[in-house]
């Protein structure tokens, strides 16, 4: 059981790395960014390619993958998302989905369709109450907590973070102060993409890399963002951990159902909201007027 809990927290941590970028783009720009999955998947494949070049040094390959992917993320933001900004939402969804498709096919073209395994960079585990726990997974979870605290500090203390938070609440208000909100949003967008690559690389030793990995994690991450509340940073963190646990516990008993259970939870959360709304309408409780 302890093993399952640690696994769940690890998955939750990875989901958090991935979802935070989605959540911020959702919250700030009201954009559903399917291209996030492309950045994630291509980043992992680049990492796998770089790993032998740098004699298997994990952090160095990670840094190289990040350096390679950040311009790609910038290009997606600059040439696709910003050009469709302020227009109908459907077009951004379709355009970013097209980018995801192109990315998946590019991976199949360059690296082939077969899954690529990545070995555990540490390969050590420690015994805790008669259970073998891989150190690597614990490190992943701890880094997610560090990231959460770091992002909290970033959004509360730094000037960029505060502008973005203000923009989340009232875009036009911030623009009236003479600030170019879009520039700050694109900075945050690129940070989010970098975190997605980071999450993907950290996840690669636990799972395997395959061309459609971006699509699969996107589905789960959308559930995380919807359950946690769009643009809600703490909510995203908590819902990522909870849904990670849901995946781990379901997977323990029924491995193929793991990802699907997340959507069941999401549907329940949505249903709860709508039931509450109906209840309030009927009883007049909690209505604002």
């Amino acid at each position: 059981m302890l093993e399952t809990i640690v696994y769940g927290l690890t998955i939750g941590a990875i989901l958090y790395f991935f979802s935070i970028g989605l959540s911020i783009t959702f919250g700030t720009m009201q954009i559903v960014n399917f291209a996030h999955g492309m950045v994630y998947a291509v980043g992992v494949y680049l990492f796998i390619t770089f790993l032998p070049w740098v004699a298997g040094i994990f952090p160095l390959a990670l840094a190289l993958a990040l350096v390679a992917m950040l311009p790609v993320a910038y290009a997606v933001e600059r040439f696709i998302i910003r050009r469709l900004y302020g227009e109908s939402l459907d077009y951004t969804i379709i355009a970013t989905y097209a980018v995801l498709l192109i990315g998946a096919d590019l991976i199949k073209w360059i690296w082939g369709a077969q899954p690529q395994p990545v070995s555990d960079p540490l390969g050590v585990s420690f015994r805790f109450f008669d259970v073998n726990l891989p150190v690597y997974r614990v490190i992943v979870f701890l880094s997610a907590i560090a990231l959460f605290l770091g992002l909290k500090a970033f959004f509360n203390r730094s000037i960029i973070g505060r502008i973005v938070i203000a923009g989340l609440e009232d875009r036009n208000g911030v623009r009236c102060l003479g600030l170019d909100v879009n520039r700050y949003f694109s900075i945050v967008f690129i940070i989010g993409s970098g975190l997605a690559v980071l999450g993907g690389v950290l996840y690669a030793p636990i799972a395997t890399a395959e061309p459609y990995m971006g699509f699969h994690i996107l589905l789960v991450a959308f559930a995380v963002v919807i359950v946690g509340g769009m643009g809600n940073l703490t909510g995203t963190f908590l819902s990522a951990l909870v849904l990670g646990m849901v995946i781990a516990i379901t997977g323990r008993f029924w491995s193929t159902a793991a990802d699907t259970m997340v959507f069941v939870v999401m549907a329940l959360v949505l249903l709860k909201n709508s039931l509450l709304a109906t209840w309030r309408k009927l009883t007049g409780l909690g209505s604002k007027i």
């Binding site: 939402l89 459907d90 959507f263 069941v264």
Partner: protein, 330 residues
């Protein structure tokens, strides 16, 4: 709030007369008949089934402006229910079609209450999530009944003259189905209901201020569109006699969206033209273009950035430019 652009006009410039419907139906029947002579007939049957699916999606996306990434769920539901009916209950294809459509409609009624609560991006994603659940149920969860990834093999029986093993008969039947769906959608979209849902696409707050119960309209459209999507699913199951989980896979949605966009959204001709063009492309080009998904993605980007009105939209402009502008009737 969405910004209205000129292509989102509610009313077409040329006023539509109800007496044109018969001519339209004859025109479509003629075009499909001609295609059946030109191409292989089983391809055209494939086009017909796909066109019905695209038409049903056009009602939801083109007319009501709600982009769903889970429309294929109802298509697959219809297909699986029809297949199971054929295997377990009776080999009567008409019964299988009726029950499949009914079950698709029931599923849409239940799920509609959840998905219609949301709008915009959450609407798209929740449909996608439900589609993923459906795919999982078919491929793994209920594999005992659906035989998982192996798929279901069935054989539809013969009712009177309707024998699905004879291609001309099957083709005529399916073409009749397409024309029926076209006729229904034409009637619906011309009615006050059609104007109401197009107004919801423009601005649903204003429609609500006018006193319409927009929840009801959205739910009804969702259910209607999903039921119509289950219909081609049942036809697929009955005609091909084989159903595999790929039919309900969420990846199938992009093909439908692509077809609607290339033909021109919010336009029944656009849906049919888009369906045919997409199927022609996937039949002819997919064999010669090895990087099919990349090609599809690039074309989608082109469609979104520079070709939004689709083939019918530009054809419409061209016609208007060629002939003197007709007086706009109120």
């Amino acid at each position: 709030m969405e910004i209205s652009s000129p292509e989102r006009r509610i009313f077409p410039i040329v006023p539509f007369k109800k007496s044109w419907i018969l001519r339209e139906i004859l025109l479509i029947a003629g075009c499909f008949g001609l295609m059946a002579l030109l191409f292989r007939i089983h391809w055209v049957i494939d086009f017909t089934i796909f066109c019905i699916l695209v038409l049903s999606f056009d009602l939801l996306y083109g007319y009501m402006g709600r982009l769903s990434f889970g429309h294929v769920l109802y298509y697959g539901t219809g297909a699986y229910v029809a297949s199971l009916m054929l295997t377990h209950v009776s080999p009567n294809p008409l019964l299988a079609i009726a029950v499949g459509v009914l079950m698709g409609g029931l599923l849409a009624m239940v799920l509609g209450f959840i998905v219609i609560q949301t709008d915009g991006a959450p609407f798209t994603l929740i449909n996608l999530a439900f589609n993923q659940i459906g795919f999982w149920l078919v491929a793994y969860g209920l594999a005992r009944y659906t035989r998982g990834e192996d798929g279901l093999n069935t054989m539809a029986g013969t009712v009177g003259f309707l024998d699905f093993t004879k291609q001309p008969v099957a083709f005529s039947f399916l073409l009749g189905c397409l024309l029926l769906v076209f006729f229904l959608l034409r009637i619906f979209t011309l009615s006050p209901y059609g104007v109401a849902i197009r107004s919801i696409k423009e601005n649903d707050d204003r429609v609500r201020f006018l006193g319409y119960n927009i929840f009801y309209y959205k739910w009804l459209t969702f259910v209607f569109s999903s039921t119509l999507a289950a219909f081609p699913g049942t036809l697929f199951a009955v005609y091909y006699g084989f159903v595999a989980p790929t039919i309900i896979s969420p990846f199938g949605n992009i093909e439908v969206i692509f077809a609607v966009l290339i033909g021109g959204a919010g336009n029944l001709y656009g849906a049919i033209l888009g369906g045919v063009v997409f199927k022609l492309m996937s039949n002819y080009l997919a064999t010669s273009i090895t990087r099919w998904e990349m090609f599809l993605g690039a074309l989608l980007l082109i469609l979104v950035f520079g070709f939004r009105r689709g083939l019918t939209g530009y054809a419409h402009d061209l016609l208007l430019r060629l002939k003197p502008r007709p007086a706009v009737e109120a």
